[in-house]
């Protein structure tokens, strides 16, 4: 899961993606990330997430180590039909939720059938 970059070790967070009709919801696990420092950006059709994680070390002698500590990075290529200006994100309890709304013109909608 870890990918080496020139400067640091970063991790690819687990994500769930939901097509909720009016929007696509991306839910990423970023335990340990500082919410205020998370950077979500959209450029040229690519949604990028960078969630910095403060270095934390356990005191004393390490007995067991099952996961690494490092920033989370992941990018998503979005298709057409999304309204980038309305993308919003919130982070709570180590989970980042990104709401990517569809353009109103392409949202699924129900068309009422009138009787003649």
């Amino acid at each position: 899961m870890a990918t080496e970059t020139q400067t640091e070790l970063t991790y690819r967070p687990n994500v769930d993606i939901c097509d909720c009709g009016a929007e696509v919801l991306i839910v990423a696990d970023v335990p340990g990330a500082t919410p205020d420092a998370i950077d979500v950006s959209f450029d040229d059709g690519v949604l990028s997430v960078h969630a910095p994680v403060a270095a934390r070390t356990l005191p004393g002698r390490i007995l067991q180590q099952e996961y690494g500590i490092g920033d989370y990075r992941r990018s998503f290529k979005l298709g057409d039909g999304f309204d980038a200006s309305l993308i919003s994100a919130e982070c709570r309890r180590g989970v980042l939720e990104i709401h990517v709304p569809r353009l109103a013109a392409v949202r699924p909608r129900k068309i009422a059938v009138r009787t003649a």
Partner: protein, 166 residues
Amino acid sequence: MSLIPFRTKRATGMEPGSLATLADFRNEMNRLFEGFFSRPLQMPGWFETAEPGQWLPSIDMSETDKQIHVRAELPGIEPKDVDVSVSEDRLVIAGEKKCEKEESGEGWTHRESHYGSFSRAIPLPEAVDPAKVTARYDKGVLTVELTKSPTSTSRKVPVLAGSTER
């Protein structure tokens, strides 16, 4: 009367709630491999496997002279849904990760995260005082600090020279 036993669902591994999805299986294999290669000679948790329908959180553990520190990644969990219990030589972290938006079950096109109940029993390297344990949950990370029991302090045994024969 049947001479050829039917395969049970359990035997085929397709019981609902077991490692039924490819993502569950992949995550479990990742955990085993990462645990094995990161610390091949110290793997107290290596033989642990999740019960059907459950998952195991990853942990880090360290010790100082007087304390044992355990940290677990538990993103997206309400602190009240985490149950931390301690016996003398064992720490159990259990709880449930709920998916608030999963009621409908529709629309999810990609799943990588764990949901549902989890329970992990962690053998401790030394006995601890169950009365002196603190647990704190912050930004999806649970940190448990345990104080070693003074009665279990290890003792250095001097090695005497000479024969034991009489």
